[in-house]
């Protein structure tokens, strides 16, 4: 008990003094997950919209697989990306294993299905409501997709934020492809895992507090986006 309270006060001190290790780890986490979520969203939103409007044999299967992939185990994604990027792998020549880039790729792959699946559902529901009007206006398929994505922008923002929340809190994939190298690929989650096992609880706790604060902030932001959207746009 004594040890925990002591660790906690040390953790608070780390945070309030803006400890440089703490800041650089948190900063790298934000950067990696931020870029991963941007890249994933850029691909997943159009893909989700396309899948919502497209009709082709096997579509239900694609949707089922996509929905299933929302729950991909991060360690498995990490393993796959590791195999791709390892020296013998097809992307080995890039030489980016154990770099932040590798972690971005792993996280982007992890959250692509989340954003795409949510976008598909959201856009398909909206399509049901808008279809006849948009067809009546002679909107092309691409114009329909763009209009729907823009119309559902607030709901989709919350989907993207959900993806970001999952990315930044994930440990398995980045541990495998990043290697948790001090000052290079050490993120909040991997640092927490390491420091805890080493018995350095203050830094682990401080990072945990920062991480939880970020995740809560993301959820608050998502809620705020939704409620102001309904109020201001209907």
């Amino acid at each position: 008990m004594q040890e925990i309270s002591q660790s906690l006060s040390l953790a608070v001190a780390l945070i309030t003094s803006l400890d440089s290790t703490l800041l650089s780890i948190a900063g790298l986490s934000l950067r990696v997950s931020g870029i991963a979520v941007l890249a994933a969203a850029l691909l997943a939103l159009p893909f989700g919209a396309w899948l919502a409007l497209a009709r082709f044999p096997g579509r239900q299967g694609v949707i089922a697989v996509l929905n299933g992939m929302m729950g991909l185990p991060p360690v498995v994604v990490g393993l796959l990306v590791y195999l791709m990027l390892s020296r013998a792998g097809p992307l080995g020549p890039l030489g980016i294993l154990f770099t932040p880039a590798a972690m971005m790729i792993a996280q982007a792959l992890l959250i692509f299905p989340i954003i795409a699946a949510l976008a598909r559902q959201v856009i398909e529901d909206a399509w049901g409501e808008y279809r006849e009007q948009l067809v009546s206006l002679n909107a092309s398929r691409a114009q329909c997709m763009r209009a729907l994505l823009w119309d559902m922008r607030f709901t989709l923002t919350t989907a993207v934020l959900a993806g970001f929340g999952r990315a930044i809190a994930e440990v398995g994939a980045v541990m495998i492809v990043g290697g948790n190298i001090d000052g290079v690929t050490r993120l909040m989650t991997t640092a927490i895992a390491l420091e805890t096992s080493k018995g350095d609880l203050p830094l682990a706790l401080a990072l945990g507090v920062v991480l939880i604060t970020m995740v809560i902030t993301i959820n608050l932001a998502a809620q705020w986006v939704k409620s102001t959207a309904v109020k201001n746009h209907g």
Partner: protein, 238 residues
């Protein structure tokens, strides 16, 4: 308005069958330019289905919708439709009109949109998020949006079914204004009063059948079918 006209319209044996049910059963009629055609009938008669078939939102299972222009794109572009429940994009009223104009390939959408809103008396709503407008306002915006496209033919599917008398009146006035500007009107209603106010010609539909097709004056004065006579007397048809 498109250069090459798409009217007159010749509808021949138009049918829509779902399973064993004839939702629309072989309707044959013509639509002449400049007329106000009211498709009248009780709920479930097949009015909405017929309008969707004419507008190309549904594919007929029999018969044909014969526009007098072979160019499919010209035919599409010369029509607009106002639905029973207005569909507003999550944007301002003006941007809703601008979107329709943009899709139609109009260059200066801002001017054309403002013109359409002004004509419909809706300038005060221009910057309002369309989805926050009342049902009546949204329907008027939908009509302004259709009007902005300057269609040769305007379809309206019970546009006032869920509106109060004031909003209904505003819609009817706008429909008449569009008609005066040369637009051909094809509108459904189950409301006898509205049919009396607006119709030049009545197409009376019951149980998927085009029971009667007559000029409005003679339809209301001397309906030739027992079904239409019963409907005019206010007796429900089943």
């Amino acid at each position: 308005m498109a250069d090459a006209k798409i009217l007159p319209l010749a509808v021949v044996g138009l049918g829509f069958r779902v399973g064993d049910i004839n939702v629309l059963d072989g309707a044959t009629f013509d639509i002449a330019p400049g007329s106000r055609n009211i498709v009248l009938g009780p709920n479930g008669a097949g009015k909405s289905v017929m309008l969707r078939l004419l507008h190309g939102l549904l594919t007929p299972t029999s018969g044909r919708v014969g526009w007098s222009n072979p160019d499919a794109l010209a035919v599409r572009r010369a029509q607009a439709m106002v639905f029973q429940r207005p569909v507003m994009l999550r944007r301002s009223a003006r941007e809703n009109v601008e979107f329709a104009l943009h899709v139609a390939g109009v260059r200066n959408v801002r001017n054309a949109a403002d013109l359409a809103l002004d004509r419909a008396g809706l300038m005060r709503l221009a910057d309002r998020p369309a989805r926050l407008c009342s049902g009546g306002e949204q329907q008027r915006i939908a009509l302004a949006r259709a009007w902005a496209l300057q269609p040769e033919v305007l379809f309206l599917d019970e546009p006032t079914a869920s509106l109060d008398p004031a909003a209904t009146n505003a819609i009817e006035e706008a429909v008449n204004a569009m008609h005066r500007a040369g637009t051909t009107i094809i509108m459904t209603t189950h409301d006898l009063g509205q049919a009396r106010r607006l119709a030049d010609r009545v197409l009376f539909l019951n149980h998927g059948r085009l029971v009667e097709d007559a000029p409005a004056v003679s339809f209301f004065a001397q309906p030739t079918s027992p079904d239409a006579a019963a409907f005019i007397r206010g007796e429900l048809l089943w």
